[in-house]
Symmetry: C2
Subunit: 304 residues, 2 copies
Amino acid sequence: MNEQIRNSLEIHDYLNQQKQVVDSYLDDFLPSASEYPEIIHEAMRYSLLAGGKRLRPILALATTDALDGDFHRAIFLACALEMIHTYSLIHDDLPAMDNDDYRRGQLTCHKKFGEGIAILAGNALLTQAFQLLAEIPGDESLAPTKIRTIHHICRAIGSRKGVIAGQVVDLITQGKQFTRKELEYIHSAKTGALIEASVYTAAILAGADRDTRQRLRNFGSTIGLAFQIVDDVLDVTGSPEELGKASGKDTAGHKATYPRLYGLERSREIANELVEAAIQELSFLGDKSEKLKELAQFISIRRF
Amino acid sequence: MNEQIRNSLEIHDYLNQQKQVVDSYLDDFLPSASEYPEIIHEAMRYSLLAGGKRLRPILALATTDALDGDFHRAIFLACALEMIHTYSLIHDDLPAMDNDDYRRGQLTCHKKFGEGIAILAGNALLTQAFQLLAEIPGDESLAPTKIRTIHHICRAIGSRKGVIAGQVVDLITQGKQFTRKELEYIHSAKTGALIEASVYTAAILAGADRDTRQRLRNFGSTIGLAFQIVDDVLDVTGSPEELGKASGKDTAGHKATYPRLYGLERSREIANELVEAAIQELSFLGDKSEKLKELAQFISIRRF
């Protein structure tokens, strides 16, 4: 077995095991499907527990581990990040946005529950995420750290360079000519900002110093961009079965993507270069950075 | 001039003056309309600065005043509450929800900017509200209070008895027979919870003791219910010009309302009784409660 295959098997084992941890806490943190009004909790659970790589929570947990942070605090943050990610997917899939029928291998939330409930389920996941952040366990001395975490997440998902900003530019450039600057903005805001925040807020919560936080932030923003480039590539090369959602949609919808601007081959190269650069950022962590490095490598080799 | 008319003029003067204060801070706290991506900030400003009574922020400021709390902190909370209220209105007006064309005397957000941007503008206002709560000025010793404030707001607007829960039950009972219990649930969750939270979180932020918080919470929940009953009555008796939105919609849509269950006359009586009961709750505040009492009275005499 060559080294690349062994590494690939190891990272998939690690991802699967971490995904199970995250899924079990997500299940705990969500209202039960029998709680009134049932349909909203069914819809939240349907979309959140459907699967997904759990990349953002796993990145937050790996960062916590690398910094010897507290798992029992970090898991609240990790689950909040996944709730926020799922909220953005539910809204992104709506007819007024990307109009997608499948996500994570099943019908999208609005196809299953109707648009009204889908909008509210997204809102409820966002709200539940903030509640979870407010509930991070710890005595009152942790409160300033919790406030900083909440504040950074608001910026990462807001209308100024955050997830919402990325969704807006994605929406208004659909079917139009777009510039390289717009493409980079969409990727950095819509996907990069929350991936970066997953690493950065875990560092805040673990009590990392300014320098450490900044290096991890660079790592996060670099792998965030690599992740989105690979996503664009997979939209061209992947099958719906592998992706759990429609493929070829970006090309059909004339969306801003890397392959459209740079071609497939060069896009793959750029993603690999970014992952290498991101890993360089972690050298200060020594052995502690192993899982984060593997996660970065997974981003460039992933097929889903 | 009889006493009732004089009181009515006084409360309108007070409301107008407070509304100007709130509007000026909302303007400051929102991203400028020239900030990229412009359309989302235009949409947020369009819906938030369109007008509206500003009842929730004014209740928060009056509560702060009654408890000798700090205005410069409370105004952050007050503006966050109005952003949250506006987010819920924008989403409520969408075709998949209430499908309204007019709100606050102008086209609804989705009629003006399209559904995609309206969904995102609502999301952005909710996110900006949490950011504002995290930015309440004060040293680190205020952080536990800010966390409690954020936590309570999450509960008040969430999927379990909060605003979202109320929207869900409102949505699923449209055009159907509904029970008195469902009607009360919708009113208490969709409208009551945020009005109650406006008073209660202002009390938290002002550092009020447990007993004071509880009395103010009772006051808030009682006027919240009265407010919604008057809203139902005005939907029957008011004109679109007075209301700034379509009237008669609840009846046409067979929505759960008080007049449908109790008739107009008895609904008005119930609202008046609730306002009187709410005012009784405030006796412990003595003279300090004057503005809160006037706000409660305004709720029963309002025509818009």
